[in-house]
Each structure stands twice: as C-alpha cells, then as structure tokens.
C-alpha cells in the first residue's frame, strides 16, 4: 500500500521537471563532448559517467522517497551539518587541487566536492533552527545565530577558493525575508551592490555622489515633500561634481591631499555621525532618518572599501571583473570563455542547430563546456526556443516549490523548500548570466544539467527531501 501512497502523494509535476532536466542535461553533455564517438554509454567519457551519476541520483531519490523516514531530516540536520563542516575542513587539508580551488575529496575513482553538498546541510540546519518554536527573527541573537550557521561553512568554502558557492548563499536572504525579515534589508543589500558596481565601473567618488543623491530622494519620499528634496538632491549632486575640478587647481593639488573619494566620503560619514548622535541626544523618535543616515554611511564605506579591495585582488580576478563590466574588451585573454560562449549561444539563432549539430561546442571552442558552460550547448543546438523553454522549466520548478512550501503546514518543510528554490534560482541566474555576459565568470553549475556528480546529488537530495516532506504535509 505504501507503493500506491508514493504514486498518489508525490508531486508529479515537480518530479517530471526533475527527470526532464537531468535527461536534457545528459543529452547536452553528450553533444558537447562526443567528438566522433557515437556511444553515449562510453564510461571513460563524462557522458558515460554522468549516466552513472544519474542512476545513483535516481536511486537516491527513490531511497529518500521510500526508504528514509521523513522525520529523520529534522532530527539529523545538526549532525549532518557537523559532518559537512568536518568534510570542508578535511578538504582544506587533504583536498585535490583542481583549477586553482582546493575543493575536491577523492573517493575511489570518483571525486567529491563537499562545497556542493553544503547547500543541503545549511538548508536543513537553517530550517531546523528557524523552524523551532519561538524563533522569530526579531532579536539580534536570532540573526547572529543565522549568521553563524551560514557564515561558518561559507568561510570554509571561501578558504577552498569556491567563491561561487558562497555567493549562492546570498539567496538565503530571501528565505529570511519570507520568514519575517524586513524587505528594507534586502533593498539595502541591493543598493550596496549597486554602489559597489558604480565604484568598480566609474570611481568611488561617483558612487558617493550617487549615494548622497539617493539619500536625499528617499528622504523626500519619506517626508512627503518630494519636489523640495529633489531640488536639494540635484543641487548637492551638481555641487559635488565640481569638486574634482577644485582638485585640479594647482594650489590645491600641491597640498597632496588624500584621494578625493576619501575626503568626500570622510566628510559625509562625519556629518552623518554628528546628525545621528544629535538625534540620539535629542531622543528624536524619527528612526527612519537615522537609519537612512546610517545606510548612507554604509554606502560610502562600501564604496571606499570596494575600491581598496579591488586594488588588492589578484590580477586575474581584476581582469575578469573588468571584462564583465565592459571596461576591457579582451576576447583572447580573460574574456575568452565568455566571448566564445556568446558566439556559441548567439549562433544558435531561433531554432538552434539541432541536437548534435553545434559546431562551437563540439569542436572545443569553449572550455569547461560540459560543466559550467553547458548552457552554450543548449543555446547553440536548441536555439532561442530551447533556451527559453529551459528558463520556463526552471521558473516553473521554483514557483512550484514555493507554492508547495507555502502549502505545507510544517515550518521546517516550508523553510527548507524556500532554501531549495532559492539555491536553484541563484544557480540558474548566475550560471546562465555568466554565459551571456550578464554576470562575472563564477564557476557554479547549472542545476541538474551540468556535468558533475556532487552537484547532481546535492540538487537531487534537496528536491527529493522537499518532495518527501511535501508528501507528509497532511500528517501533522
């Protein structure tokens, strides 16, 4: 009777999406790497190995659905989290060095990437922590707990050199938002990223000027006297843009003052701090202005910090960032991957060149075409139609998971579902964005499609743990 239970209770649309994606991925890996080989089951090649990984994943999915009890996940979350931390530590000391990142653990002939598995354990632990009765994200200690939970493995993964996986964790902010965190936090985060980008593309000074302008505008919207504050914003920005001219005056230049961004930033921070302190002394109740001032300070500090950090980055990373920002055009050097991947995708046209018909991927113009750049094969062989279809499937999966999560009465299941959906979303956006030059080259796989056992197993586990939890939704 249990058998029937699975068939009836399983959310088939999600499971079908999963199957479609892994098979589609397998086909594309074969197409990208087959060369003159016609045997998709050649186990010496990645497509052969991927078949083994698919078998393992399907078996794993079956185990999760049928064999492993649903309760176990909430109960063992902390244990698994601990094991993962140990694995990550082990990798740092005994890991294999692949492409500059020390993130692989050799297990027999197969290598394992613990960083890929961190997604599961962090999500489980986060769901356990936040699903606990009484946890409300209202106190600082709650936030600190969350920060530590995500921060410790993130730090270890950073030490391994897998920056990409850490960036994915930023998607977990959305989960916090769902669970009660103010939307302003994310808005502030987005603004800080915007400021950082401005700093990199133009200069820290420009970022500061824009921050000040935005500050006045938000103040205007808050106070309801929009026109007046727009004027203030415009005037202050205009006045500030003349500042560099002042620095060009010989007498001023002769003083050898620090960089203009530091002076302007310093003055802004100083003024803000005075104003904030004053508001405390006057015990003003207007916390919005105070927060806005603090946000402005943060923005200014980020601008200066990003500038300094960028200078300290290794040259190859500076190069990658510059290429992405369009500051440098270098199709042979740092931009080679992206340039070639754009050619492959762009040459696909509306309907693509057909399965096995791609020339760019088949003839090896794109490095890492079976892993991080698998989308090139999709774009080249399946065209615009195929690419959009893939995006639609992913979007359907994400929205389906969120729908099921919200439908679930169990808070643990819901939080875990949100984590799963956000991990998928982050991976898809960063990975595809990277291949079409909207994102920097961050080496993370396309969920369920890219070649790679660790990634496939991680996403399989997350999706099917969630599906298993979903099957239990009416039990509580």
């Amino acid at each position: 009777m249990r058998e029937k239970g699975i068939i009836r209770k399983l959310d088939w649309p999600l499971a079908v999406c999963y199957l479609v994606l892994i098979l589609f991925g397998w086909m594309n890996i074969f197409s990208a790497l087959r060369g003159d080989n016609t045997n998709i089951f050649d186990f010496s090649m990645q497509y052969g190995k991927q078949f083994i990984w698919i078998c393992i994943s399907v078996a794993l999915a079956f185990c999760i659905l049928k064999v492993i009890p649903a309760r176990i996940w909430n109960g063992t979350a902390w244990f698994l989290y601990g094991v993962e931390i140990l694995l990550l530590l082990a990798v740092i000391f005994v890991g294999k060095n692949v492409n500059g990142s020390r993130s692989w653990l050799g297990v027999g002939s197969f290598a394992l990437q613990p960083a890929e598995l961190a997604k599961i354990t962090i999500s489980l632990a986060l769901a356990t922590l936040m699903g606990r009765y009484g946890f409300s994200l209202k106190t600082t200690s709650d936030y600190l707990k969350v920060a530590a939970l995500v921060g410790i493995p993130a730090l270890l993964i950073l030490l391994e050199g897998e920056t990409g996986s850490v960036i994915v964790f930023m998607g977990l902010l959305v989960v916090l938002y769902r669970e009660g965190m103010s939307g302003w936090v994310i808005a502030l985060g987005a603004f800080i990223i915007f400021v950082a980008l401005l700093t990199l593309i133009y200069s820290p000074f420009v970022a500061e000027v824009v921050s000040i302008g935005v500050f006045f505008l938000i103040l205007g919207f808050h106070r309801g006297r929009i026109i007046a504050w727009i004027l203030v914003a415009a005037l202050s920005v205009t006045a500030l843009t003349f500042l560099p001219k002042v620095f060009e005056i010989e007498a001023v230049a002769a003083l050898s003052l620090p960089d203009i961004s530091i002076i302007a930033g310093g003055l802004t921070v100083l003024t803000s701090v005075i104003l904030v302190l004053r508001s405390f002394i006057k015990s003003s109740r207007n916390s919005f202005v105070r927060n806005a001032l603090l946000a402005l300070c943060a923005a200014v500090l980020v601008a200066v910090a990003v500038d300094i950090c960028f200078e300290k980055l290794p040259e190859y990373q500076q190069g990658r960032i510059n290429v992405l920002l369009g500051k440098v055009d270098d199709p042979k050097g740092d931009g080679y991957n992206v340039h070639q991947s754009m050619i492959a995708i762009g040459s696909g046209g509306f309907l693509g060149k057909g399965f096995l018909g791609g020339t760019q991927t088949k003839f090896g113009y794109i490095p890492e075409q079976e892993t991080d750049f698998i989308f090139c094969t999709v774009g080249e062989e399946w065209g615009f139609v195929g690419s959009i279809a893939l995006l639609v499937i992913y979007f359907f999966m994400i929205s389906r998971i969120l729908l099921l999560a919200d439908r679930n009465k169990d808070r643990f299941a819901r939080i875990f579902g949100y984590c799963t959906a956000m991990c998928i979303a982050m991976h898809v956006v960063i990975n595809i964005g990277m291949t079409i030059k909207l994102m920097p080259v961050i080496g993370i796989p396309l969920p369920l499609v890219s070649y790679g056992g660790s990634s496939l197993i991680a996403f399989t586990s997350m999706i099917f743990i969630f599906l298993r939890l979903d099957m239990e939704r009416n039990k509580i």
């Binding site: 769902r178 040459s347 003839f363 615009f384 979007f395």
Partner: protein
C-alpha cells in the same frame, strides 16, 4: 500565512529571468554577428586554385601554359616532433633554415594563428614524391599543388608579362584577392587578368579549437568548384616575335609590327627584355632584372617616347597636301640644307631640286622646312598660334600625343607640343614658324612611342585610317572592345595618301632612296628612314615600313637607340621581320648576310646608362 511575500519573491525572480530572456533574444535573434563569428571559428575555407588560362599566338600556338608545382606548407601549431634530418635531406635545406623559420613563426604566433605557412616554394615533383611517401613522419607539414607558368616558345617576355604573388597594396586595390593568391602584374597577364585567372573555389572544412581538420562541412555541399581561367588568343605571331627578339639581341630599342587591316599587333619587342625563362620565378630574378642597367622591365614599345626623326616628314607632307600649300609637283631646292633668317637645318648630299615623291625617298630636310613654313605661315590664318593649333589638330588625329588606347598596360601618350609650350619657351608673341622649324623633320619637342610610329605606318598603309592597335583576338565568347573594330580616320583626306606611299616606295626602290637596304625579294616594299638626333651620343636609328605596297599585310616600326642612320640598323631589322613574316624565310645571299650582321651586331657599348641606385 503570508502569500503576498511569495508573490513578491516570484515577481523578482521572474523579472530576473525576463532579463536573461531579453539578453538571449538579443544575441540569438537580433545580433547576426555571432553566427558569423561561429563560422569563422569553426569553418576553414581552403582555397582551390584554378588553372590559369593559356596564352596562344595568332595561329593557335601556345606561348604560355601551366605546369603543376608544389609548395611545402607548415601549420606551426600542429607540428609535433618531426624528423628534421629526413626533411632537410629530402629538400636539400639546412637545419638552421628550418629553425630560423620556426623561431620567426613563434615570435609572430598571434599573426600565424592556426594558419598554414609556406616553408618552401616550387618544390620539384621528385622532391614532392619523396616527401609524400614519408609524410607521416612530418606532422603539420603538407604540400599543396598549384600551377606555375611555363613558356614553350622564347618569345615576348615583356609582352606576356609575369605572374607573381599579390602583395598588400595589390589586395587593397583588388577586392577578391587574398594573401597567397597570384595575379598577372605586367603585359598580357595583367591586361587580361580577369579572363586568365578563372574563379577560385573553396572547400569548407570544420576545424576544432586546436585548428585540427575535422572533416568536410556537409560533405562538400557548400563547397565551390574552381573554374579554370579562359585561354586567350593573342594577335602576336610567336615565330616573328621570337625571330625579332633574336635580331634585337644586344641592342636597345623596340620593334612593333601591326597588321594594318585590323590593327592587330603582330610583334612587340622591347630590348633588352625579360627572358621567359625568368618569368616563371620572377621573384628569384627580380633583383638581377632590376639591377640590369638597360632596364629590361621598361616596356619601350609603349613607354619610351622620343622624337621620331625624319619619319615624321610623312605627317608634315600629308598636312601640307591637305592644307593645299603643297602639291605632288611642288619643287624645292636644297643645297645641303635649309638656311633662313639665321636658322640652318643641314641635309645630306642629294640631287636638287626635287618633288614630293623624291623628298620622301631621299628624306630631304630642306624640303620639309619649306613645307612646314608654308603650312604655318599660310595667310588663311591670322597668326602663328592659330595656324599652329591647326597643325597640331592634324598631328593628334594620327594618334600622336595621346594614348592610342591599346590594351598594352602602361601605355604612354607621348608628347605633341602646344601653344603653351612655346609661349613658355619663347614668350607669347615671340615665336614664329622658324622658331619651331625642327618639328618639320620630327625633332624638337615631339615625343612618340614606337607604337605611335607603327600606327602611323599602318595608317599610311591603309591610305588614311587606322584601327587602335591591340594584342587580343576577337573571340565570340569574349568580344574585344568595339573600339578596336572601328576605323579611325585622320584629318587628312584619304586621296593624299597614295602620294606619300609612292614616296615611301621610291625610298626603297627609287634613285637616291634612303631605304634600299630594306628591299626584299618578291615583295613590293614601302619604307621611310629616320635618324633621331641624340645629344647624348650616337643618333637613334628609326625605320617604318609596310608591305606589300598594295593590300599591306604588315606595318613595322623599329627604333634602335644609338643605332645611327635609319638605314644602318632599324631598316635591316624591320625589313628582315617583314621578309620572315611574308616569305616565311630569309632569302639566301645578301639577305642572309644582312641577317647575320644584324644578329651579331652589338650596340650595347654605345648606350649610355645611368648608374642605378641600389
């Protein structure tokens, strides 16, 4: 439950996905350049060179044809370890040469890319076979075949011109050519490049990121076949051309022969010329040729414009007849020259007084001083400028002073002075007919190419008109420019020409004629000698002639630099060519002796050469 937040999250995710979608739309559908880049990436267009068209002479004899040659190419990126010693052994080259080439390619690896670079050109077929047997020992090396020119008859090096690899400047001017292509650079090869070259084809191969060949694209469906070039039948008579070149050996000058009834160029010799044996590998001999003090690259037949000398008296005589200031019976006396108003033009010793026919036959200078003065001082005209302009109109109607419009590359127009020339020289109003009296005997500011002179001769042979000289036969598939089929009449009425023809005939056969040496058995010959004064050394020997007198088959002009009198070198050479052309052989006896004298003659020591700058 807070469903609002899920919708906000989904909206944001959807927006980001839409941004991805828009970007995909842009690069996959709107922007075509990626498709092009992909082609350039993955497809290699290997050029298939067509065989160049043959060049035939007027009777269908092959002057230029093709043979297969091999170039040894290397694709440096795909070269792995190879048997250097064996390679050096096969091609007889030094190891250091190979090392040096590879070092150069390494230095320029960005430019070289995955391309194939020529290592050795013109490898012999025997070397090629030895290489091909063991080609597996030399990964990255391959031999490509192309065709090279061969010349079965040693005739007309300058006329045919050479074919060589195109350079940057040529490619910039001629779209469709790429580095490694060959093109005709001079002579017929250049003039008819389009017809001879044919159409290049290409085979499309896939190549991978390492530049390796990965098979034919769509099994050759989109390949383009090479279309062989078309043969060209020239108007040249190969036998006469090579015979003429033998005669012109060790002499500087040119010979042009035209068939008057068609304007077809039968022979065009510029001496010294480029030997055909050097043409095929011109780059090898380029230095030698360009350092030759006699400048073999210079096509004198159309580029050397010099005073025509007494030959020009024919023109002045015709103008005088047309203008009515001269009749066939006009008599002038000459006592070793013409003296008037402080001007003296010398003449040789001959009977006096004489009529028009005799004046041509004996080439009297004084007679033509009278003629030119009566033309220019004609009361019909208000002043010298007006009458000079009239005279000039007649002269240019013979084709002098302008390019005739032949298909010989780099043809020059020569020079006929204008009023401006003399206004500048003497001052406006300060010159008169006597100032320019040297024009009467073809000296002074006149510049005519040998082609002009041959054309003049053909005009007279035709009794008043010419066809623009050309060197390509009319072909039903490739009709020649219709301008070559038009008669061009001069401004002199055709009725006056027979008198001049008679003079030229008398020059060969009459008492006191200057051209007796050009008599040929069995052929009624007409000729006119000329001696172009040369302040830098011996005078230039000039001769024009046509034969037979009625229904002329050939008109020849010969211009032998530093050859002295017209009758000394130019007349023998031109007449031998006529004899060979009309009779097929040189008559034994005096003619054979003359032939021997001409062939053995060496005038090079008389020619002053400018020291060439290195």
């Amino acid at each position: 439950m807070n469903f609002g937040k899920r919708e906000i999250i989904l909206t944001v995710v959807a927006l980001v996905f839409v941004v991805l979608g828009i970007r995909l739309f842009k690069i996959q559908i709107l922007d075509e350049s990626y498709t092009l880049d992909a082609r350039n990436n993955a497809m290699r267009y290997e050029t298939v060179y067509p065989a160049r068209g043959r060049i035939l002479d007027r009777s269908g004899k092959t002057i230029v044809e093709n043979k297969l040659i091999y170039d040894l190419m290397v694709t440096p990126r795909t070269v792995t370890e190879f048997d250097t010693t064996a390679l050096c052994d096969i091609f007889g080259i030094e190891r250091s040469f190979i090392e040096e080439r590879f070092a150069y390619w390494k230095e320029n690896s960005r430019k070289v890319g995955y391309g194939a670079m020529p290592l050795l050109r013109h490898v012999s077929s025997e070397q090629y076979n030895r290489f091909a047997e063991r080609s597996d020992r030399f990964p990255g090396f391959n031999a490509v075949t192309r065709t090279a020119r061969i010349y079965p008859i040693n005739a007309g090096g300058n006329l045919i011109g050479y074919v060589s690899e195109v350079d940057r400047a040529y490619i910039d001017k001629h779209p469709g050519y790429r580095p490694g292509d060959y093109a005709g650079k001079t002579g017929i090869e250049r003039a008819y490049e389009e017809r001879l070259a044919g159409k290049k084809g290409y085979t499309i191969y896939f190549r991978d990121a390492a530049g390796r060949n990965r098979g034919r694209y769509k099994d050759g469906l989109y390949d383009s076949l090479a279309v062989a070039g078309n043969d060209i039948t020239t108007t040249i008579d190969a036998d006469i051309q090579s015979y003429g070149e033998l005669l012109m050996k060790n002499k500087v000058g040119s010979v042009v022969a035209i068939e008057p009834s068609t304007g077809e160029i039968l022979t065009m010799i510029s001496s010294p010329g480029i030997d055909v044996s050097q043409l095929a590998e011109i780059s090898k001999y380029y230095r030698e040729i360009s350092e030759n003090p006699y400048n073999p690259m210079f096509n004198r037949t159309v580029q050397s414009a010099q005073p025509p000398g007494s030959v020009f008296k024919l023109v002045n005589g015709l103008i005088g007849l047309q203008e009515g200031v001269l009749t066939p019976n006009t008599m002038y006396s000459c006592s070793r020259g013409y003296t008037f108003g402080g001007v003296h033009v010398g003449c040789h010793n001959h009977p006096s007084p004489i009529n028009l026919t005799q004046s041509v036959a004996m080439s009297c200078n004084a007679y033509y001083c009278y003629v030119l003065r009566s033309i220019l001082d004609n009361k019909k005209y208000d002043n010298i400028e007006e009458s000079f302009e009239m005279w000039r109109d007649y002269v240019t109607s013979f084709g002098f002073g302008t390019k005739l419009g032949s298909d010989v590359p780099y043809e020059l127009g020569g020079n006929v002075p204008t009023i401006k020339t003399y206004n500048k020289l003497h001052g406006k109003g300060h010159w008169r007919s006597l100032s320019i009296i040297s024009l009467s005997i073809g000296q002074g500011e006149l510049g005519c190419t040998p082609l002009h002179l041959a054309n003049l001769c053909a005009t007279i042979a035709n009794r008043g008109y010419y066809y623009i000289p050309h060197m390509i036969k009319d072909d039903p598939d490739y009709p020649i420019d219709p301008k070559y089929l038009e008669r061009h009449y001069t401004k002199v009425d055709t009725c006056w020409f027979p008198y001049i023809v008679e003079g030229m005939n008398q020059s060969v056969y009459g008492a006191g004629g200057t051209s007796h040496i050009s008599q040929i058995p069995g052929v009624e010959m007409c000729g006119k000698t000329g001696t172009a004064q040369n302040p830098h050394g011996d005078d230039h020997s000039v001769f024009v002639c046509f034969a037979p007198k009625d229904n002329p088959k050939i008109a020849v002009a010969a211009y032998i630099e530093n050859g002295g009198f017209g009758a000394t070198w130019a007349a023998p050479i031109a007449s031998l060519i006529v004899e060979k052309y009309l009779n097929g052989e040189i008559a034994p006896g005096t003619r054979k002796d003359l032939e021997r004298r001409v062939m053995e003659g060496n005038l090079l020591h008389k020619v002053k050469v400018k020291k060439k700058k290195r």
